[in-house]
Symmetry: C2
Subunit: 525 residues, 2 copies
Amino acid sequence: MHVDGVQLIGKDQQRGSQSAIQAVNPATGDTLEPEWAGSSQDDVKRACQLADEALDTYRETSLEARASFLETIAEEIERLGDALIERAMAESGLPEARLTGERGRTCNQLRLFARVVRDGEWLDVRIDPAQPERTPMPRVDLRQRSIALGPVAIFGASNFPLAFSVAGGDTASALAAGCPVIVKAHNAHPGTSELVGKAIQKAVARCNLPEGVFSLLYDADTAIGKALVTHPSIKAAGFTGSRNGGMTLWQLAQNRPEPIPFYAEMSSINPVFLLGNALEQRTQALAEGFVNSLNMGAGQFCTSPGLVIAREGEALNRFIDAAASALKALPSHTMLTPGIHDAYEQGVARLAAHSQVRSVARADSNDQPNACRPQLFSTDAQAVIADNTLQEEVFGACSLIVACSSDEEVRDVARALEGQLTVTLHMDEGDQQAAGQLLPILERRAGRLLANGWPTGVEVSDAMVHGGPFPSTSDSRTTSVGTGAIERFLRPVCYQDIPEPLQPEALKAGNPLSLKRLVDGQREA
Amino acid sequence: MHVDGVQLIGKDQQRGSQSAIQAVNPATGDTLEPEWAGSSQDDVKRACQLADEALDTYRETSLEARASFLETIAEEIERLGDALIERAMAESGLPEARLTGERGRTCNQLRLFARVVRDGEWLDVRIDPAQPERTPMPRVDLRQRSIALGPVAIFGASNFPLAFSVAGGDTASALAAGCPVIVKAHNAHPGTSELVGKAIQKAVARCNLPEGVFSLLYDADTAIGKALVTHPSIKAAGFTGSRNGGMTLWQLAQNRPEPIPFYAEMSSINPVFLLGNALEQRTQALAEGFVNSLNMGAGQFCTSPGLVIAREGEALNRFIDAAASALKALPSHTMLTPGIHDAYEQGVARLAAHSQVRSVARADSNDQPNACRPQLFSTDAQAVIADNTLQEEVFGACSLIVACSSDEEVRDVARALEGQLTVTLHMDEGDQQAAGQLLPILERRAGRLLANGWPTGVEVSDAMVHGGPFPSTSDSRTTSVGTGAIERFLRPVCYQDIPEPLQPEALKAGNPLSLKRLVDGQREA
């Protein structure tokens, strides 16, 4: 499979007409061929029109047909074989094993959503049968199901060129919900995007679906993203990236004549609390676990541990020393793009210049282009409580250790935290009381609470929440990873006394889809 | 039970300190005693602080305790007896039977949410047990439940002084979700609000809940509403009212440093399609049913039928004649407030002055203050398609009949519709094909589709959707009536490897709450 430098609009593959982008291999600095000319405003209109035309057919596909489509996409991605991994490696600087694993996750999550579609719980069927004899007023027949919101715009993420990009979690959940998808490719991996896009395009054709179910656009600038988010046919959008980028698009989505849900996953520093007994008894292991989590993927994970909170004292000093040693021994990873590397260095410099922040350790340079040199800082609780900028995410392997004078001050830092994707507690049995006092505070500030692990590594499953209060996301009521993500793209519709021939299959008498429906307040078996 | 002109902040009852409001009996024009001095910015702060302090206790009440609290509120409202109905009649001009019925609905919906709370489905519990042996990576233990968003601000609606006001649907669903509630009383019925507020206050005390679970504020202007929506402790808001009012508050909610969900139910003209056979065969009955639905509550329902669409011809002419006759014979109802009456007259005048709109009939005046004189207009399809202002809601008994030249033009009008709470089809068996062609179009534009009934009259049940695409609401993913409303005030949290003693009850091994949990992808019985 070649990359041809084309955008994909419905079943067409064609070059764009606007300023071009090219990928850069961050490990070498080399520019990669070919170039992708950017999409035009007319391309946006055509993709949106096709998506709109596809909607009514696609959202009424049978559960089996839709599930099978998701599985076909996974198959087609796997059929891309080594070409996909090689291109993704060249475009991202990520190692082969990571990308092979990420491909597995991408295909697994498509198949997981196929299971979700078949189960049909997402339809949220509720039936209140008519009660013609009820007094003082008879009850009409009421039947509810969820339907697709409409065409969805998805923005590929830089840091997961497969699992959170063209056929990533947002796309999988939107397609599962019955929404046609238009992806704006991330400029860091245009070739990877094209390959995966073509796999989806093939799956659309193999499954005889309307071509508008999927399109893929490119842009050297931000015009196409803005045009997508403000197009009247687009009824929701998914984004993973920076807080600035997310909020700019979010504002546009809110200021449309018809505002739409805009799901932005933006920034999180994933605080880690080291409680007294655990810190005392597992100092070395915690230090090593921490720096490994910090350096994973050069710290370019949404869940990278950017803040460590503990009581000051001898144990914390040992932890800091051990972490500093371990950090200096870390391998240096190539960052995803020169731009991300620059922003990382600026973020490190910003913290280094802060009067209340001390540098603990920095890894050496390996003299490769765009290499990430992990950085550890320390400060005290009052500094973090007083200055919100110390909570600003530095995307990359950079973390700040916060020394607190008391358990109460630990809780004060917890109360001062902004919304987070994750918060971690390291605790032993003797720490349960302290942990119990922290949990209600932390629950209000995070989507995932974890004990005795590291936040990096996100399971794709039913119980995962990858979301959280602002600014970690723009909408804490949802998750972008895991099966709950399908709910972002649905809305309920009630059918009152609609004659049975016109009722959607899911609502008909006799339960032809064998769903677990809520009938008269009782759940069907 | 007296009305004392007091605001309720936690367990306190005290006069406000700002400009006062007094209710007006719209049926007589008389000003009613006492006056309510408005709440201050400090009152907002205190109510928010109490709500914030109450949150952690209240959101962790047992299912039984919370359900029992909702039932206690219903009991306390019933114990207000005739005093409540009398005050509500004086403040709203609504007849006794309507208010007695509305009190029944208010208490029933509190009890319905008690059932929902006990069932525990709202917890949305999902458990993915650890798989330590899984390769290549072990799976951690993941447990998800939903928790309360936080304190919620609720704006009482003018047109349901009981069922959508202080203890109405928004309050019931927010309290059911575990959110403390601060209500801004509607100025049209301050005494009714105080009485119901005191009933809730008593229930809080009887159930030994923290006082901050409920507060009730008053304001002669908009400052208190704005202060509530922008207070950092408030994490969501519910509003039922005008599009202007709703969007103003919605904008404030979106432009906070931390944006919050703002559920505004704003405007809907509830189109009614009269399909060929039904119109031909049931002309007279449809005309009578229509004008009765239109005049119900003086047209002051969110679901009042403000647009009627049919093919032109002899049958439509007969329908128009019959509707005109029936309209003139309608009783004249008192509108809720002088302000609403003025706005209604202005809305009627606006349509009357439109060059493409003809007046069909208007009911006579009964010479009472604030009497609603139902008005019927007609126009043609192209006028509605060309001019969006013809879709602007006129709150009150006013409707526009749209004559279409063909079935295709009927569908063109359907395509031109803004988002609606309801769309109605009148159809006989011979109309099924036409109805089937309309349904996919209408589904994209409404929250509730009904056949052969009238949109006024909203059942409070599991399958009800009282919501819909913008501008009928600000968030089509939800409903404000029915048990689904609880979901507006919840967000998911995932607990990863949290030791069992610290796990919430709902997530523990052995399923102590007997919930139907999703465990490893399977629903527990």
